[in-house]
C-alpha cells in the first residue's frame, strides 16, 4: 500500500495509535494484552528465542486469545536479558528481566492470568524518551 501524502500517513498513524499508547501508559480502547520481548542479538544470545517460543506455547495451551507476543529490539538492559514488557490495557506497562524459557509459564500465569507481579524479575524502567505520541 503506497502512501502518497503526509495526510494519508497521519491518518494511518492515528488508526494505529492504540498500539503505542498501550505500551506507553496502558491507555487503549482495545483489550489485547501485548507481551513485548527483546529479540536483539544480546537477547537472543541470552535465550530470548526459546522464551518467545515458550510464551507462544503457553498462550496457546491456556487458550489466551487476547494475548499477543511481539518481538522488539533491545531496551538496553543487557544484564537482565531476556527482557519482556507486559502491556495490560489500563495498567502501567511493566518490564521484567531474566525471563528465560523456564520463567515463561510463570510470567503468563502470574502476570496475565492472576494479575500479580513477578517481584524478583521486575525491572525498573530507568529512562525517559523523546515523545512520539504528541504532535
Amino acid at each position: 500500500m503506497k502512501i502518497n501524502s503526509r495526510s494519508e500517513l497521519v491518518e494511518l498513524r492515528k488508526s494505529l495509535s492504540n498500539k503505542i499508547t498501550l505500551r506507553e501508559s496502558g491507555a487503549t480502547t482495545d483489550d489485547t494484552i501485548e507481551i513485548l520481548i527483546g529479540m536483539a542479538t544480546c537477547g537472543i544470545a541470552s535465550g530470548a528465542k526459546d522464551t518467545y517460543n515458550e510464551l507462544i506455547t503457553v498462550i496457546e495451551d491456556l487458550n489466551l486469545t487476547n494475548v499477543k507476543v511481539i518481538s522488539v529490539g533491545c531496551l538496553g538492559y543487557c544484564y537482565m536479558e531476556p527482557t519482556v514488557q507486559v502491556c495490560i490495557p489500563g495498567e502501567e506497562p511493566l518490564l521484567y528481566g531474566k525471563i528465560t524459557k523456564d520463567k515463561a509459564f510463570e510470567l503468563i500465569e502470574k502476570v496475565i492470568v492472576e494479575r500479580v507481579y513477578l517481584s524478583d524479575n521486575l525491572l525498573i524502567r530507568s529512562f525517559d524518551k523523546a515523545g512520539a505520541s504528541n504532535e
Partner: protein, 588 residues
C-alpha cells in the same frame, strides 16, 4: 474542575510487601464517596523505582509525584488536589540534589537520568513491522520536510540543532551536509556507517536491530538535503540480524512508498542498498569505508579531498553513522531548538553508551550530554560488581583513553573527554576495577590496533607494532625504564604523523594510561612488580581451600594454621585468590 485526572497508584512489589498498603482501593473508595468517579480514574501501576520513598502516587496530567503516601493521606489528596486543584506540598517528591519539592516530573532529573532520542523506539516497537514505526510517527519527519522545506532549509535545521557526528570525531552533521549539498553535480551519495568495529560497543547494532526504519527515514532526509537519490548502508557482516531486519525494513518502506520513486508525490526519488563489511576495524574510517564499498582493500586515503567533495565513486558523499541518523527524525519532528536545548554548550542532545566491564548493569544507556561518568556508572550502571573499588573507565574504545577516579565528575561531552585524554568515540564504556592491570589493558588495545592496522602508513604499521612489543616486554618484566621514554615518543609521533584518524588515535590508550597510571608502568619498567601471590598470615583462617585449588601445589599448611605460598613455584594463576573466603590472599 474541567479536566479528567488519572491517578497512577504504585502497586509495585516493593510497596505492596513493605507497606502492605492497598492504596488503590482506598482511593477508589474515597473518590466514590465524594462522587468524583467521572473526573478521575485510578490505575494500579508498577514500581516507579524509588521504592525507598514508596508508596508513590502519580497524578496525571499534572505529572507530579506524591511520595510516602499513607492511607491517611488519601482524603487530603482527593479533596485538595482533585477537587480544589491545590498541590499537597508536604507529600511532594523532594529533589535529592536541590532539596526542593518537585512539582513537575518531566524534564527534571528525578530518578530518570536517561533520556532516549536515538534509542527512543528500541524495545518498544516491532522492527519487522513498519506499521509499528508508523504508529510512533514514523516517516512523518520525511513527509514534513518533503512537504514544507527546501533542501537548504533542512541543512539549516540540522545546523541549528547542532547535532554532531556520533561515530567518533564529532563533526557537525549540518556542516557535513552543507559541504556535500554545495558540491556541483547531480550524482551524490548518502552513506550510513554501520561498521561498528569498536570492541565493546554495540549501540549501532541495537538501533539497526530495534529501530531500522528510523535510520532509513533519516537517510532519505539526508538524501533530500544534499541532493542524493541513492544511499548505502555499510554494515558489518558480523551483524546478520541487523542485516536481516534492514532488508525487511527496506522492503516494507518501498512497499509503502517511503523509498523509491516520487516519495510522498514530491518528485523526490531515493533508494537504499546494503554493502557488507568483512571484518576490518579501519573501515570505520570514512575513506577506508568508501574504498571497501568500491570493492577495494579498506585502506584510508589522505584528506582532503574529503568525501563530501570526492567520495563514493569519486562523487560528493556524506557519511554519517547509525546513531547520528537515528537522532534525525526526532529532531525534525520536535524542532532544532528542542534538540539544542538538551546537552552542553558545544555538545547537544544525548549520547548512547555501551556500559560493560566490571559494572552491575551492563547494557545500553542514553543520557543527555553533560551527564557525569559518576551518574552513568553508579546511578544508572548500578555501581561496581561485588562492590570492588572503581579504578578507571575506558572510553572510546581503541581510539580512546582511560578516565580515572578523579575525573568521574566530569560532565561528558566531546570537548571535556578530549581534554582528559580520551574521546567520545563510538561510546563504549568499559569499567575497570581494582583487579584490572592497566598496563595489560593498554597492551590489549595495542595488540588490537596493530592487528587491525591496515598497514599503509609507516607510523601505524610499524609504530603500533613497536609499541606493542615494548608493552609486551614491560609486562613480562623484560623491559627497562628507557622503554617508557621510547614508548611515549613513539606514541606522540604516531599521533602527529599517522595517515588517518584511526592511526592518529591508536596511541591514546597508552598516552592516557601513562598520564594517569605512570606508577604502574614504572613498576613494570623497574621490575618492581611482584608476580606471585602471598598469604596475609593474620587473616588466614587455615581453611585449606587455597591449597586445594592450587594447580602447582605450591601452598602448604595444615588445617586452622595459616598457610604459606612458595613464591618460587607460584605461577600467579589467581586460583587461590578466588578461592579464599576471607580475603587473606594478596595479589601480586
Amino acid at each position: 474542575m474541567n479536566s479528567k485526572y488519572t491517578l497512577l497508584v504504585c502497586d509495585g512489589a516493593s510497596c505492596k510487601t513493605t507497606h502492605k498498603a492497598n492504596l488503590a482501593a482506598g482511593f477508589k473508595k474515597v473518590i466514590a464517596e465524594k462522587k468524583l468517579g467521572e473526573f478521575v480514574s485510578v490505575v494500579k501501576t508498577g514500581c516507579f523505582g524509588i521504592c525507598g520513598q514508596g508508596p508513590i502516587v502519580k497524578v496525571l496530567p499534572d505529572d507530579l509525584l506524591y511520595v510516602s503516601v499513607k492511607q491517611t493521606d488519601i482524603e487530603e489528596i482527593v479533596e485538595e488536589h482533585i477537587k480544589n486543584g491545590n498541590v499537597v506540598k508536604r507529600l511532594l517528591y523532594t529533589d535529592p540534589f536541590t532539596q526542593e519539592p518537585v512539582e513537575k516530573q518531566k524534564g527534571k532529573k528525578i530518578y530518570q537520568k536517561q533520556f532516549r532520542i536515538a534509542l527512543r523506539n528500541c524495545g518498544l516497537i516491532n522492527p519487522e513491522d513498519i506499521t509499528e514505526y508508523i504508529a510512533v510517527r514514523g516517516y512523518e519527519a520525511l513527509a514534513s520536510v518533503l512537504a514544507d522545506k527546501t533542501p537548504i532549509e533542512v541543512v539549516e535545521l540540522m545546523k541549528k540543532s547542532k547535532l554532531r557526528g556520533r561515530g567518533g570525531g564529532g563533526f557537525p552533521t549540518g556542516l557535513k551536509w552543507e559541504f556535500t549539498a554545495k558540491q556541483p553535480g547531480n550524482e551524490k551519495y548518502v552513506i550510513c556507517n554501520a561498521d561498528e568495529g569498536d570492541p565493546g560497543a554495540f549501540m549501532d547494532r541495537s538501533v539497526l536491530e530495534g529501530d531500522p526504519h528510523s535510520v532509513l527515514e533519516a537517510m532519505a532526509i539526508a538524501g533530500y538535503a544534499i541532493g542524493a537519490s541513492q544511499g548505502y548502508i555499510y554494515v558489518r557482516a558480523e551483524y546478520p540480524l541487523a542485516i536481516h531486519r534492514l532488508n525487511i525494513a527496506m522492503e516494507q518502506a518501498r512497499e509503502y512508498g517511503f523509498l523509491g520513486k516520487n516519495i510522498f508525490s514530491s518528485g523526490f526519488d531515493f533508494d537504499i542498498d546494503i554493502r557488507l563489511g568483512a571484518g576490518a576495524f579501519v573501515c570505520g574510517e570514512e575513506t577506508a569505508l568508501i574504498h571497501s564499498m568500491e570493492g577495494q582493500r579498506g585502506e584510508p586515503t589522505k584528506k582532503p579531498p574529503f568525501p563530501s567533495v570526492s567520495g563514493f565513486r569519486k562523487k560528493p558523499t556524506s557519511v554519517n553513522n547509525v546513531e547520528t541518523f537515528a537522532n534525525i527524525p526526532a529532531i525534525v519532528l520536535n524542532g532544532a531548538d528542542w534538540f539544542a536545548s538538551i546537552g552542553t554548550e558545544n555538545s547537544k542532545g544525548t549520547k548512547v553508551f555501551a556500559l560493560a566491564g566490571k559494572i552491575n548493569n551492563i547494557g545500553l544507556v542514553e543520557v543527555p550530554m553533560g551527564t557525569t561518568l559518576r551518574e552513568i556508572i553508579y546511578d544508572i550502571g548500578g555501581g561496581m560488581v561485588n562492590n570492588k573499588e572503581f579504578k578507571a573507565v575506558q572510553s572510546g574504545g581503541p581510539s580512546g583513553g582511560v578516565i580515572p577516579k578523579e575525573h568521574l565528575d566530569t560532565p561528558i561531552d566531546y570537548e571535556s573527554l578530549k581534554q582528559i585524554g580520551s574521546m567520545m568515540g563510538s561510546g563504549g564504556l568499559i569499567v575497570l576495577d581494582e583487579d584490572d592491570d592497566i598496563v595489560q589493558l593498554a597492551k590489549f588495545y595495542l595488540d588490537f590496533t596493530q592487528d587491525e592496522s591496515c598497514g599503509k602508513c609507516t607510523p601505524c604499521r610499524i609504530g603500533t607494532k613497536r609499541m606493542y612489543e615494548i608493552l609486551d616486554r614491560l609486562t613480562k618484566l623484560e623491559g627497562s625504564p628507557d622503554d617508557l621514554d621510547i614508548l611515549e615518543d613513539l606514541a606522540v609521533n604516531i599521533k602527529n604523523s599517522a595517515l588517518c584518524g584511526l592511526g592518529q588515535s591508536a596511541p591514546n590508550p597508552v598516552l592516557s594510561t601513562m598520564e594517569y597510571f605512570k606508577d604502574e608502568y614504572e613498576a613494570y619498567a623497574y621490575r618492581k612488580v611482584k608476580h606471585t601471590y602471598s598469604i596475609i598470615t593474620d587473616k588466614c583462617i587455615g581453611c585449606t581451600k587455597c591449597a586445594r585449588v592450587c594447580p602447582v601445589e605450591c601452598i602448604s599448611g595444615s588445617v586452622k594454621v595459616p598457610h604459606v605460598i612458595d613464591e618460587s613455584l607460584c605461577i600467579a594463576c589467581g586460583a587461590c585468590y578466588t578461592a579464599c573466603p576471607v580475603n587473606a590472599i594478596e595479589k601480586p
